[in-house]
């Protein structure tokens, strides 16, 4: 790879010449517009790509006694050998999977319903749904802790309504999932709503016209067409919920040890940066695989991208 870029001895590289010619050539307006992205490309390069390379570098190395650096895959192997760690990964995926599904089940009908409303009302509801994001996430989580605790209003309401003994919701999957659903709901509602509101109403009418019932139309037309929105919603919920630290800590009574905690533990508590980096890489790879598989489901979206 590197060899091909190197200058041939003697003559100047034709590639370099081409690049120079390209730079010198007067720009059309379109090309000028492309230059606007330069600061962003720099940000991408310096603040995204290079740091990721650093992480990768840490993941595949191990510091030696005499300050030398050794290439190794041990960090990765260790993760899979360590008792329970694969389970942690699985647990994170399980929790974030459930969260994503529940969020989707709440968000989709909401987005679907508000699409029927007048435009102004639609905007208002979307704003209302996203406004809580302005309140610190930690605070919102703590507020849930207060609501869910044995002395909280939820138990009070349950007791008053059904005469139930107070239940300690904290530390249960229910509480953790509820907290995550709450935090990530806007990230699911907005893309789905954006997508649904763009679906051409005539397609729905065409389906009805061809004899399909409303239900059939929903499953065969509306739903498949809204998959891109669902997909970006899923992306925006699945990934952060797999790694969030706040919700499990405050609503999970500390019993939830998820992959984010593990990474944090390795980096910060143990100071094992190489190991932490390796786990990060594993996590990113697993998430990408899941994302890729989810995308597979959406064939139509892929077709569109192919154009």
């Amino acid at each position: 790879m590197i060899g091909t870029v190197k200058k041939a001895p003697g003559g100047r590289s034709p590639l370099l010449k081409q690049i120079k010619a390209y730079i010198k050539r007067p720009k059309t307006a379109l090309e000028r517009f492309k230059l606007l992205g330069i600061p962003y490309y720099l940000i991408l390069l310096v603040l995204v790509i290079i740091p990721m390379i650093l992480i990768l570098f840490y993941a595949i190395t191990t510091p030696n006694k005499d300050d030398a650096i050794l290439l190794t895959l041990n960090n990765f192997i260790a993760f899979f050998q360590e008792e329970g760690f694969v389970g942690v990964l699985w647990d994170s995926i399980r929790i974030s999977g459930i969260t994503t599904i529940v969020t989707l089940l709440i968000a989709y009908p909401l987005a679907y319903i508000i699409c029927d409303y007048k435009l102004k009302k639609q905007a208002l509801i979307i704003l209302l749904v996203s406004a809580p994001m302005w309140v610190n996430m930690l605070l919102r989580t703590i507020a849930w802790k207060q609501i869910l605790s044995t002395a909280g209003p939820l138990n009070a309401a349950l007791g008053w309504l059904f005469g139930m003994e107070p239940i300690n919701f904290l530390g249960t999957d229910f509480a953790v999932v509820l907290g995550m659903v709450y935090i990530f709901l806007p990230f699911m509602v907005i893309p789905i709503y954006n997508n649904l509101s763009k679906i051409d109403n005539r397609l729905i009418e065409a389906s009805l016209d061809l004899g399909a019932s409303r239900k059939y139309t929903f499953f065969k037309v509306t739903l498949p067409l809204s998959l891109p929105g669902v997909l970006s919603g899923v992306t925006m919920v699945l990934l952060p919920s797999a790694t969030t630290l706040v919700v499990p800590r405050f609503l999970g009574e500390g019993r939830y040890f998820l992959i984010g905690n593990l990474i944090e533990q390795k980096f910060l508590k143990s100071g094992l940066w190489n190991y932490g980096a390796a786990i990060s890489i594993i996590l990113v790879v697993v998430l990408f695989i899941i994302l890729f598989l989810t995308k597979k489901v959406d064939r139509f979206h892929k077709d569109e991208e192919d154009d």
Binding site: A206, S207, L210, G211, Y216, V221
Partner: protein, 349 residues
């Protein structure tokens, strides 16, 4: 006349529809027979789409009724009506391929797989798109998409096919091709077509019956020739083709006065001294040598139109549009004349 023998398919009775304060359809009545190619012709916003949507069941009339073979269908939802629609911008399902788009209606009916296969293949053949089965909809040209939209509707063997400006988005050449194609399909399938357009050439070319609409009213219903040759009023005359329109006064059973002169005409049924609209089609105006015609004028514009020249003759009272196959130089002084049967008198509106 022959309507008596033919089977009445759809009847609209006093249909009225408003959106908010705007009355879109005004007590509209119309009878449509089996196996007819009916065109709703009218300018943008006159209510054509609204009428079609009421027939298709997508809108509900405020008052009045729609009868399908004698039965009021007010409470029948779109998916249970014997109609299918071809939407203006096709409204094909982008997530399904060509075959699945066409098969959609059949799948809804849970037809046997083999039957579906046969029917869809047949239909694709009919619209000339065999072999496109697995293509993605997005990869078809406008004309091809249009054909798929028609195939998708027709494969359900509706009693009535509703077409809302189906050719509006196509370019001229393709539009002309598709006009013939649609006419052929209608003849082959013997399905009633209700076709919406604002293009009078299209209407003339394709229809058995033209319904000229304006502002939610029907002005005239008739065959293309009736509409073109005997428009009931200035509005219809203007909408269906180029014409010279002027005001005249009836001076006798076959006499009309305009431009300060009295002309012989054929038409009758007007009172003496009644004010009427007079229509003379440009192709009916004859240019003759100066002094040989009734009105004198000067050639002020000549446009080559391929088959003919479109010529403006400016006379003392007005500019006459003339269509002729002969070219005249601009500035030439000429006379014009019309035959009595080319002067159409119409009620003022």
């Amino acid at each position: 006349m022959d309507g008596l023998q033919r089977h009445v398919l759809i009847e609209l009775k006093d249909l009225t529809k408003s959106f908010g304060k705007n009355v879109i359809l005004k007590k509209l009545n119309l009878t449509i027979y089996e196996n007819e190619f009916v065109t709703l012709l009218g300018p943008s916003g006159c209510g054509k789409t609204t009428l079609l949507r009421i027939i298709g069941g997508f809108e509900r009339a405020d008052s009045g009724a729609v009868f399908f073979e004698g039965k009021d269908v007010a409470n029948i939802p779109p998916h249970k009506r014997p109609t299918n629609t071809v939407f203006q911008k096709y409204a094909l399902f982008p997530h399904l391929n060509v075959f699945e788009n066409v098969a959609y209606g059949l799948r809804v009916k849970k037809m046997d797989k083999n039957v579906i296969q046969t029917k869809v293949t047949e239909m694709l053949k009919m619209v000339g798109l065999e072999g496109f089965e697995t293509r993605s909809i997005q990869k078809l040209s406008g004309g091809q998409q249009q054909r798929i939209a028609i195939a998708r509707a027709l494969v359900n063997e509706p009693k009535v096919l509703l077409l809302d400006e189906p050719l509006g988005a196509l370019d001229l050449k393709l539009r002309q091709e598709m006009q013939y194609e649609l006419k052929r399909i209608q003849k082959e399938t013997e399905i009633t077509f209700i076709y919406v357009t604002h293009d009078q050439e299209e209407a003339l070319t394709m229809s058995d019956k033209i319904v000229v609409m304006r502002d939610g009213d029907i002005h005239q219903v008739g065959t293309p020739q009736e509409i073109y040759n005997n428009p009931v009023n200035k509005y219809v005359a203007k909408f269906v083709g180029e014409s010279n329109l002027l005001s005249g006064i009836v001076k006798g059973p076959t006499k009309v006065k305009f431009d300060g002169m009295t002309f012989e005409c054929e038409q009758q049924g007007f009172l003496k001294d009644q004010e009427v609209d007079v229509m003379i089609r440009p192709e009916d105006v004859k240019i003759v040598a100066l002094g040989r015609g009734k009105i004198d004028g000067t050639i002020t514009d000549v446009i080559f139109k391929g088959t003919y020249f479109e010529i403006d003759v400016t006379t003392a009272n007005r500019v006459y549009a003339v269509e002729t196959t002969q070219e005249y130089p601009i500035g030439k002084e000429v006379s014009i004349r019309f035959y009595p049967d080319c002067i159409h008198l119409m009620e003022k509106i």
